[in-house]
Amino acid sequence: MKFLLSMLFCFSLFLNANEPITPIPEAIPYDKSKAALGKKLFFDTILSKDKTLSCASCHSFSHGGADGRMVSIGVNNTQGSLNSPTVFNAVFNFSQFWNGRAKDLAEQALGPIHNPIEMGLSLEEALQRLQNDAQYQKEFASITKHATITQNDLAQIIAEFEKTLITPNAKFDRYLMGKETLSDEEMKGYMLFKTLGCVMCHNGINVGGNSYQKLGAIIPMERKDAIDDRYALTNRESDKNVFKVPTLRNIALTAPYFHDGQVATLQEAITKMLYHNLGVNLSDETVDALVAFLQTLTGDIPTTNQ
């Protein structure tokens, strides 16, 4: 996987040398049978305690792979503290979760299932349910070549499906590949994006998702206690309010914004970012240009029927 990404990366570099943002490929290789089973599991409420929720409940295809709510609602109507990050293009992130505590998709996949405030189903019971289902047992066995379904099997198969959820052909990607031109406004927005310094955190193939940065780097932002930032992992003062930079791809679709979903609109998000992380207040024209640019980052959304 890492080899694949590095190859893609080198390839994309070739296309538009020196641009700090690189396009998503049309497709990436994946195991078809695993992904098919993973898709079934992704949409199956069997994986929640009360069978009301599936992965897709909080990573909805109609909301850019994220949740339209500020924070997601778990079983028994429990509320979380974090805004659901998008599952689209998550494969390109260098780690998973807001604080990067999972190293890849497989390591992340089981977390929400047994998290009491999310799907609330213990992994033993989850595996039991799947084992007891004849169809699931057969499908798992034919892929894994062993009869008992393990945690690793479940995680790998869900992850394989998530791998397929990429959104190529964004206007900006096509621009990078030389297939399209941007409007003046969009171009202005991109230039501002670079010169203002937005690109210093939001760069790479996923326009973000590849480093840990402080929210409120210049002008500090309020921090709620018991938030899942880097400090929760490392216990260093300097890591307070430090999160994995979220992707800006399809950002127009994934409101609300920021880790706690406190910002409702793109304009507000941009304004706050400019203030807290760059220490500037800029005109509405500037913000609008930036919004125009961000909208070019919306790609082809995967359909639920594939």
């Binding site: 590095s6 990366f9 690189t22 260098f94 210093m200 193939i205 780097a217 210049i218 220490g279 500037v280």
Partner: protein, 682 residues
């Protein structure tokens, strides 16, 4: 050890060596390819880590950054490090190296954290720096709004901004530390113009960010460049080389083994070669050196050797009588006895030179005589009996000594000539070489003569004692030599027997003489020897010839030697019976020269007695001869046997034998042998 066993042993060793070489080869090949591959991997890892450092540096300078790049490097390096422990050779033989690599991996994990911090921190520093530059720009635009009393403060802002840029370029944190005072002053300062104030405030914010972030940046950089990373990798490499050297030891030891195997093989081959050579020079039965060894010893040497050749007499008879096993025993005992003969100071070497021939080769000192030595040998050999199976079986040996080269040939010649003396010494007088040469020549002459029909019968008339008229002829074999003279066949007789030409001789004489004398009316006598009489084909040929000419048998007389008639009585008797049926008569030739057996003569019913020439030759002067002849004649007359006197070569003898009443005379006084029968009918 039989040849097959030797071959098997050598082949087995060779096969082991071959297999060993193969194993050694594949082991070395395996070792070196694996080692090279691993060293390459170390190299690749080093390069990847350098690339990472390069791109980190790149990120500190370049404003636009793609964090994917550093993340790629990190992932690649982690994979490379992990790769080492999947290589079987590493797991098997390089535990120390793997441990060191683990340390390196841990150092790298620390670096990864530092890199993440770098990515976080660097963003802030660069952003703040860029912002400060922008602020400066803006402040400059608002220059008109700055009041004179604010100028100093403004200058202070400019100074700080410049110092920050300097510090950043110098990567020197100490320069930053000098800014605290100026920042403190500005914190509380109020610019008069609100827009300027706003800008100043923002600028100050950025200053504080830098002051806080930049030292952290320097600290993070030193963490990233912690030499421990390079050190742990170097350490791992060093250990790898050391552990590989240790493995090399086993290659070295193995190669020693191979060399040893090789030497053993060569040693074995050499040993077998030498043994083989030795065996080929030794007679297996007697353990003496053999003919080949002898030839080698005397070849190309200037030492004056002498040879004593010892032959076991009648060995074949011994073999036939006692059996081959006993014969072998005899040979072994003889050999032992011979080797015990002491010839001090003469460096004797002992050989088995033939089936029953032994040799002692020695240096003949000038102080000794060959004859004495030969005598010593004969004496020493026989002085104690040789006992085999409790019986005394000391063989009778013939001893021949020669000091003339070629030693063996000359000694052998003497041996073959069956000399009466024992020991016999070779001397030039033997002229044996000449004799042999002569024999060969004579055989060729004989063969040529046969081919050219130069073996012819001559006829010597025998006259009546009374009338001196020709009564009969004796057929004598003659050979016409290339000089066109006729010579007696006598010197060629032995040769003819040796060369299997004897019967051919008899045949041609009989055929020619019968053919000639068939036309005559006189009797004629043919000489036959026991060789003829016991030869079945010759007897058949004689009978055929007798039948070919009807009634010729009545005129034929066969002359037989007295000595042969006695020796082979039965054979003679049978022959006589046979030819009598044709009317042939029998004469005894050379009667009276040896042991005369009258009884035998009577039993064979001999018709004629030819009195030996030695008796007649000097009968006129030798009284004893005269008495003997008288006796013979008396005997013959009483038994109605005719008598013939040979060698009548003078008138005196002719007269004398007439007085003795011998019936017929033969001799040069009357007639010499001639090529055609002489006729005196007129």
């Amino acid at each position: 050890m039989r040849i097959y066993q030797k071959l098997f042993l050598t082949s087995a060793l060779g096969l082991i060596a071959l297999v060993s070489i193969f194993i050694f080869n594949s082991f070395s090949h395996h070792y070196f390819t694996k080692r090279n591959a691993i060293e390459l991997q170390f190299k690749s890892l080093e390069i990847a880590e350098k690339k990472l450092d390069y791109d980190i540096l790149h990120d500190t300078f370049f404003l636009y950054v793609n964090h994917d790049i550093l993340n790629q490097h990190i992932a690649t390096i982690k994979e490379m490090i992990a790769q080492f422990s999947t290589i079987p050779v590493m797991v098997e033989s390089h535990q120390q190296t793997l441990l060191a690599l683990n340390e390196h991996s841990q150092a790298f994990e620390k670096k990864i954290q530092a890199i993440y911090d770098f990515q976080t921190n660097n963003t802030v520093v660069k952003n703040a720096t860029a912002a400060i530059v922008t602020m400066q720009q803006r402040l400059f635009q608002l220059n008109a709004l700055v009041l004179p009393e604010d100028r100093q403060a403004l200058n202070r802002i400019n100074t700080i901004a410049g110092t920050i840029l300097l510090a950043k370029n110098a990567q020197d944190v100490h320069i930053i530390n000098t800014l605290h005072h100026d920042i403190d002053v500005l914190e509380t300062y109020q610019f008069h113009d609100p827009r300027v104030m706003e800008l100043a405030k923002t600028t100050l914010f950025h200053f504080n960010v830098i002051v806080e972030a930049f030292p952290k940046f320097i600290a993070i950089m030193s963490q990233i460049n912690d030499p421990v990373l390079v050190q742990t990798l170097e350490h791992a490499k060093t250990l790898f080389v050391q552990e590989s050297e240790a493995q090399l030891k086993s290659i070295t030891h193995f190669s020693y083994l191979l060399v040893l195997l090789y030497l053993i093989s060569i040693g074995m081959i050499t040993f077998f070669l030498f043994k083989s050579e030795k065996e080929s020079r030794m007679d297996a039965l007697t353990q003496l050196a053999n003919r080949k060894a002898y030839e080698e010893k005397i070849a190309h040497t200037n030492t004056p050797f002498a040879l004593i050749l010892i032959n076991i007499k009648k060995f074949k008879h011994y073999n036939d009588f006692y059996g081959i096993h006993a014969g072998d025993r005899l040979l072994q005992e003889t050999a032992k006895r011979i080797t015990r003969i002491a010839l001090p100071t003469m460096n004797p070497t002992f050989y088995r030179l033939g089936a029953d021939d032994f040799g002692i080769l020695f240096e003949l000192p000038q102080t000794h005589e060959l004859k004495t030595i030969a005598d010593t040998v004969l004496y020493e050999f026989s002085k104690e009996p040789i006992i085999i199976d409790g019986e005394i079986r000391t063989p009778t040996i013939a001893v021949v000594a020669s000091a003339s080269t070629p030693l063996l040939e000359t000694a052998d010649m003497v041996l073959k000539s069956k000399q009466q003396t024992n020991p016999t010494l070779y001397n030039e007088g033997f002229n044996l070489r000449e004799i042999i040469k002569d024999n060969v020549t004579k055989v060729q002459e004989l063969k040529n003569a046969f081919a050219e029909n130069r073996i012819v019968p001559f006829y010597q008339p025998i006259v009546s004692g009374d009338t001196h008229r020709i009564e009969k002829y004796e057929v004598l074999a003659r050979i016409i030599l290339p000089d066109n003279h006729a010579y007696s066949i006598f010197p060629y007789l032995r040769i003819a027997k040796e060369a299997n030409l004897y019967s051919q001789l008899t045949k041609t004489i009989i055929e020619q003489s019968f053919a000639t004398l068939a036309l005559s009316d006189k009797d004629f006598s043919i000489n036959l020897s026991i060789n003829d009489i016991v030869n079945h084909e010759t007897v058949l040929m004689i009978c055929d010839t007798l039948e070919r000419y009807p009634r010729i048998g009545e005129r034929v007389i066969f002359e037989l030697l007295e000595s042969e008639a006695i020796d082979d009585y039965n054979a003679i008797r049978d022959f006589i019976t046979k030819v009598r049926t044709y009317g042939c008569r029998i004469a005894i030739d050379d009667f009276g020269s040896g042991y005369s057996n009258f009884a035998h003569i009577l039993n064979l019913s001999i018709d004629i007695i030819k009195i030996d020439g030695s008796l007649i030759k000097n009968i006129d002067t030798d009284a004893k001869a005269n008495t003997i002849v008288e006796t013979i004649v008396g005997f013959a007359r009483n038994t109605s046997i005719k008598t013939v006197a040979e060698f009548v070569h003078t008138k005196a003898i002719a007269d004398h034998v007439k007085n003795l009443c011998i019936d017929e005379f033969q001799g040069f006084y009357f007639y010499e042998p001639s090529s055609t029968p002489i006729n005196d009918d007129n």
